[in-house]
Assembly symmetry: C2
Homo-oligomer: 223 residues x 2
Amino acid sequence: MDEIRIIEVKESIYADNDQKAQELRESLKKQGSFLLNVMSSPGSGKTTVLKSLIPQLQDKYKIAVMEADIDSDVDARTIAEATGVRTIQLHTGGMCHLDAGMTKQGLDEVGGDLYDLYILENVGNLVCPAEFDTGASKNLVILSVPEGDDKPLKYPLMFEKADVVLVNKIDVLPYFDFNLEKFTQYLQKRNPKIQIFPVSALTGEGMDKAAAWLDQAIETWRK
Amino acid sequence: MDEIRIIEVKESIYADNDQKAQELRESLKKQGSFLLNVMSSPGSGKTTVLKSLIPQLQDKYKIAVMEADIDSDVDARTIAEATGVRTIQLHTGGMCHLDAGMTKQGLDEVGGDLYDLYILENVGNLVCPAEFDTGASKNLVILSVPEGDDKPLKYPLMFEKADVVLVNKIDVLPYFDFNLEKFTQYLQKRNPKIQIFPVSALTGEGMDKAAAWLDQAIETWRK
């Protein structure tokens, strides 16, 4: 396992983030690289989802992971140890999101044209990360059962920006008052085209479908 | 039950937030009012905690609740219906936190000198709300078992700013890999003076101790 690298990223306040994001997306597309932006609340299981997803795809694709965090490098260590893929840690210096410039800094550090699939684990937060386009090919949002089925009502932008939602921790559905049907209704009201996969990253249930979705999305992207 | 009021608050960008917060805190102290700022991730159980806490204190204190949210008024309705106390909804217009100016707007709307205990339910977020002093007498942070015991490492500022932490949803401890001892160690490393109460707001377990802490904090504040 490589040593975990910690990169300090700073927000480029004056840049036009949307344009930067679009440029980044196009340059990644040109070189055949797919960037997946993973967003959720703290503790929804982003890292556990990646630990389950990566082994299903790493024979086919060369994968690198960028772990964004306010502080600490616990997630980067976990991913690197569990999967062996190249992993770097991005520190946001207290900031609650990544923008396209910060993502670009991370990609440059990883090696910008060497990987088929870059996975960006954004800062745990259902608000700010939704406001900044990172240049990702697709946005994956995780909502875990214990958080409650009303979250699309309360954090609408996050669920509007999502291409796919994983409802994680379905292994504990019996212990929580979470109505999957209600959640789906709330979600589809905000975002009619969204895809939803109920999963347990811990037990692996449903993760094959999530991996198949990502595989298909990468194939389509590279056409 | 009163009709739910929705107040649009805007960040006062140019104000010195720390000074405003200090002035607010002093003016509340002068009139014998206590302001509790409640912070957590989305879905940690802020609203359920309030539903359990308020009935234990509302015979002794006159209580008002300010529910902050990006959008929606589901929490304000829940609180008003469950407890009957005066509740208003603050909309942050997409912003991920409240500052002292926004809190003051909320207090003025509620009726700034009429209540013993104002409870502010901040936006669900472990990052931004910690960066802005609201003028609160005390900060209460909720961390729920499903979020994991490593959160003090990853969101250090939030746990440094907290006066008390409720570890919520302990009724589901058997189903999660959450080590309360480890969590306590991580937390005390960041914040040696912090008080910790393991609770289940749903079943009520431990909530009497949390209510007793708040009662004591209010009494001390008003001396």
